[in-house]
């Protein structure tokens, strides 16, 4: 090779680098992982279109995972094990945040958020759900929150002799209503409460926590005491709640074993059984009506006239008289993502006014932005907003500590044991106490008073 040829080659190479490098740096791709559903897809696709228009050359790769909530969490945790598979942006359930932050799967956002001019639009109660319990930093921007109640079919309760305008004051009132339905309406399941592993987090939160948060002392006397930062074992409230579930199950007030064991029953209930009038009462979240609206997964025009909502009473009507549980999903970022500013840009696009509004309306959730809650379209399209927003004052958040996902699985197992499994409350609760002690470590556990 002569000198001229060498020169030519090196010039070519240099030119190639000069052209190639900036091009590489410009064309960035962010991968987004979320649990597939019509409303999340709608928001993600809108945000992708908006973001790609504002950042020519950059692309968003949407990975919708169709699976149960439990498998979604396992899959995302496994993806997060290595930088080559970790997604840049994660649609993250608020209750996983503390654990995932401690594992180093999430990037703290406080600094970036303080520079975002829309951050003060977010409700302080809802922001709690995006924070780590350990360091208090924000890891997820909340997209919506929720509260829970007992939905009931007015016609069925009327026919059963309970009355169309129903508000139980104690747990016993719920059992009494269920007994009347059982007696007077054959073929109708009196009440649905999720009580098995198949129900996953819905069992823990909608099933058990709505009960134990209504026992004397609430969650801090039955599950986790935030003052001492210790988990509670041997609590009476916890056992009372299990006994309530066992009574409901043993008397045949719950849906069939087959349904309770079916992980897709949550859809079957809301999209078939309830519209068909086969279930009289069901403890569920505020978002559930979104399935029945035009464009939902199971449109049902008469839902608003047919269904009523009752607050969940405390055990004996003590305290505020009522209780509820809250949670919600957030949008979070992996610390392994290369261009964090760009990733944050996409997150703020997902959580901007337009997309938050779409999310609140289509998911049927309680808005977390002040401008969304005040929006007329939101108030018009969500006839339950008033009732469910009022529950925020009596609501509780889950003790979203690191081991919460494990405690949650343990709770589901314990509920399943006393119902479908046929165990006694004392056996199952004793096993729960032992396993909780093992999970948390004996120094992080205290006996209930």
């Amino acid at each position: 090779m002569n000198l001229r040829a060498q020169l030519k080659l090196s010039t070519l190479l240099a030119a190639g680098f000069a052209c190639g490098l900036p091009a590489l740096a410009q064309a960035e791709e962010l991968s987004v992982v979320y649990r597939d559903s019509p409303y999340v897809s709608a928001v993600m696709e809108a945000a992708k279109a908006e973001f790609e228009a504002e950042h020519p050359g950059d692309t968003i790769e949407l990975n919708a995972i169709s699976s149960s909530a439990r498998d979604y969490y396992t899959k995302v945790s496994l993806m997060n094990q290595s930088a080559s598979t970790a997604p840049d942006i994660i649609y993250e359930d608020g209750f996983q945040i503390t654990a995932d932050a401690a594992a180093g799967y999430l990037e703290p956002l406080d600094e970036r958020l303080s520079g975002w001019d829309e951050w003060d639009q977010f409700s302080q109660i809802a922001v709690q759900n995006g924070k780590s319990f350990v360091d208090g930093k924000v890891y997820g921007i909340p997209l919506g929150t929720d509260t829970q109640a007992i939905w009931y079919n007015k016609d069925l309760l009327e026919k059963a002799g309970v009355g169309a305008d129903w508000q139980p004051k104690t747990w016993q009132d719920i059992l009494d209503a269920a007994a009347k339905v059982k007696e007077n309406l054959p073929g109708v399941d009196p009440i649905n409460i999720y009580v098995t592993k198949a129900g996953n987090e819905a069992s823990t939160m909608r099933g058990l926590m709505n009960l134990i948060s209504g026992t004397p002392g609430g969650l801090s006397a039955t599950l986790f005491d935030p003052e001492t930062q210790k988990w509670i074992v041997g609590s009476k409230g916890f056992r009372d709640a299990l006994a309530f579930l066992k009574t409901a199950y043993d008397n045949g007030y719950l849906v069939s074993d087959t349904d309770l064991q079916d992980s897709s029953f949550q859809n079957v209930l809301v999209e078939q059984r309830v519209p068909e009038g086969k279930v009289a009462m069901f403890i569920d979240g505020n978002w559930i009506w979104a399935r029945w609206i035009e464009g939902g997964t199971a449109p049902w025009a008469a839902w608003n006239e047919t269904l009523g909502m009752a607050k969940i009473p405390t055990q004996n009507g003590q305290g505020n008289g009522f209780t509820s549980m809250s949670g919600g999903w957030t949008i979070a970022m992996s610390p392994k993502t290369e261009d964090k500013d760009l990733a944050f840009d996409f997150m703020t696009t997902v959580a901007n006014f337009e997309n938050s509004l779409t999310y609140a309306i289509r998911a049927g959730s309680i808005g977390v932005r002040k401008d969304v809650i005040a929006d007329e379209t939101y108030l018009e399209t969500n006839p339950t907003a008033g009732f469910f927003s009022s529950l925020v004052e009596v609501t509780n958040f889950r003790p979203a500590l690191e081991i919460y996902p494990q405690v949650s699985s343990l709770i589901q197992e314990t509920m399943e044991a006393v119902t479908v499994g046929g165990d006694s409350v004392e056996d199952a609760a004793g096993r729960f106490d032992r396993q909780l002690t093992r999970l948390a470590g004996s120094s992080n556990v205290e006996k209930a008073n």
């Binding site: 945790s77 496994l78 654990a99 401690a102 592993k197 690191e402 399943e416 479908v420 499994g421 046929g422």
Partner: protein, 286 residues
């Protein structure tokens, strides 16, 4: 230089077998988690996982169920497999091929698909089985809920008997017709010739097949996971199901690994028996 040809095989065994095993044993002595602080900073905790494993009644219950599941599955697969093979060899060649195709189909269908077929066949009031029961006027059954362990054992026998059938078909061909004819002339009936002549002759094959099916059955996960997921409660939870539950539902990867090591131990014992039987068989044939 004579060991050079062994190098690829050795490398494969080390990379894909030995390293994962050592890794699993090491992990089982840590508190490694799927998420949380212990996912990033797992600590070495010695035999703590094993202490909890052996003091938890749930482990013993799962171990008992695994023993029942493996014992009955292996017995069922071998008996059914032998019967099909025995009846099949007496049929015409056309029927023989047809029988093989039907039985082997059950075996080649992926585990997930087989599990799902059974799930839809058995689950709920409108299941295939209950529709058949309607025709005969039988009461509806929910065996996945009322007898989950028995149900998964039957499913596993259904799926696994093809393997045993193939093994026994081959073995039966080795039983010389002279011996059978001699037995017949001596006045042996069918049962007498099976128990007095055929079974003693193929005894080494039976022994090896029992160990092989045991090894196959110890790790069965997919079929149980899809049909009952170990439930209701924990009534069909075998060790592989318990392992998955602890590792992924509870996020206790370290603890799950200790169950994996326990399972591995059972596998090693079964393998040692297999190797020993194989040697005995070879010595006799040689």
């Amino acid at each position: 230089m004579r060991i050079v040809p062994l190098a690829p095989a050795t490398l494969m065994i080390v990379a894909f077998f030995l390293v994962p095993i050592i890794w699993a044993i090491y992990t089982s002595m840590t508190n490694l988690g799927l998420s949380g602080y212990a996912a990033r900073n797992p600590a070495f905790i010695g035999f703590e996982n094993y202490y909890y494993l052996f003091t938890d009644p749930r482990t013993w219950a799962a171990l008992g169920r695994t023993a029942v599941f493996v014992g009955l599955s292996v017995a069922g697969q071998n008996i059914v497999g032998f019967c099909i093979a025995y009846v099949r060899q007496m049929a015409t060649p056309a029927i023989q091929s047809l029988a093989s195709v039907i039985v082997i189909t059950a075996w080649v269908v992926p585990e997930v698909v087989a599990g799902f077929l059974w799930y839809t066949f058995l689950r709920g009031d409108e299941s295939g089985m209950n529709q058949i029961f309607d025709i005969f006027g039988f009461a509806h059954q929910q065996w996945l809920l009322t007898a989950p362990l028995a149900a998964v054992i039957v499913i596993n026998i259904w799926r696994g008997c093809a393997f045993s059938m193939l093994v026994y078909s081959a073995a039966l061909q080795d039983v010389s017709s002279e011996v059978l004819e001699a037995a017949e002339i001596d006045g042996a009936g069918r049962m007498q010739s099976i128990f007095g002549v055929i079974l003693p002759i193929i005894r080494p094959v039976i022994a090896i097949n029992v160990v092989l099916t045991t090894l196959n059955t110890l790790g069965v996960f997919g079929i149980i996971w899809i049909t009952t997921a170990g439930g209701p409660g924990t009534r069909s939870e075998t060790l592989p199901l318990l392992m998955y539950n602890q590792a992924y539902d509870f996020g206790l990867i370290g603890y799950g690994s200790s169950i994996a090591v326990l399972l591995l131990g059972f596998g090693v014992i079964a393998s040692l028996i297999y190797v020993r039987l194989f040697k005995v068989g070879e010595a006799r044939n040689g």
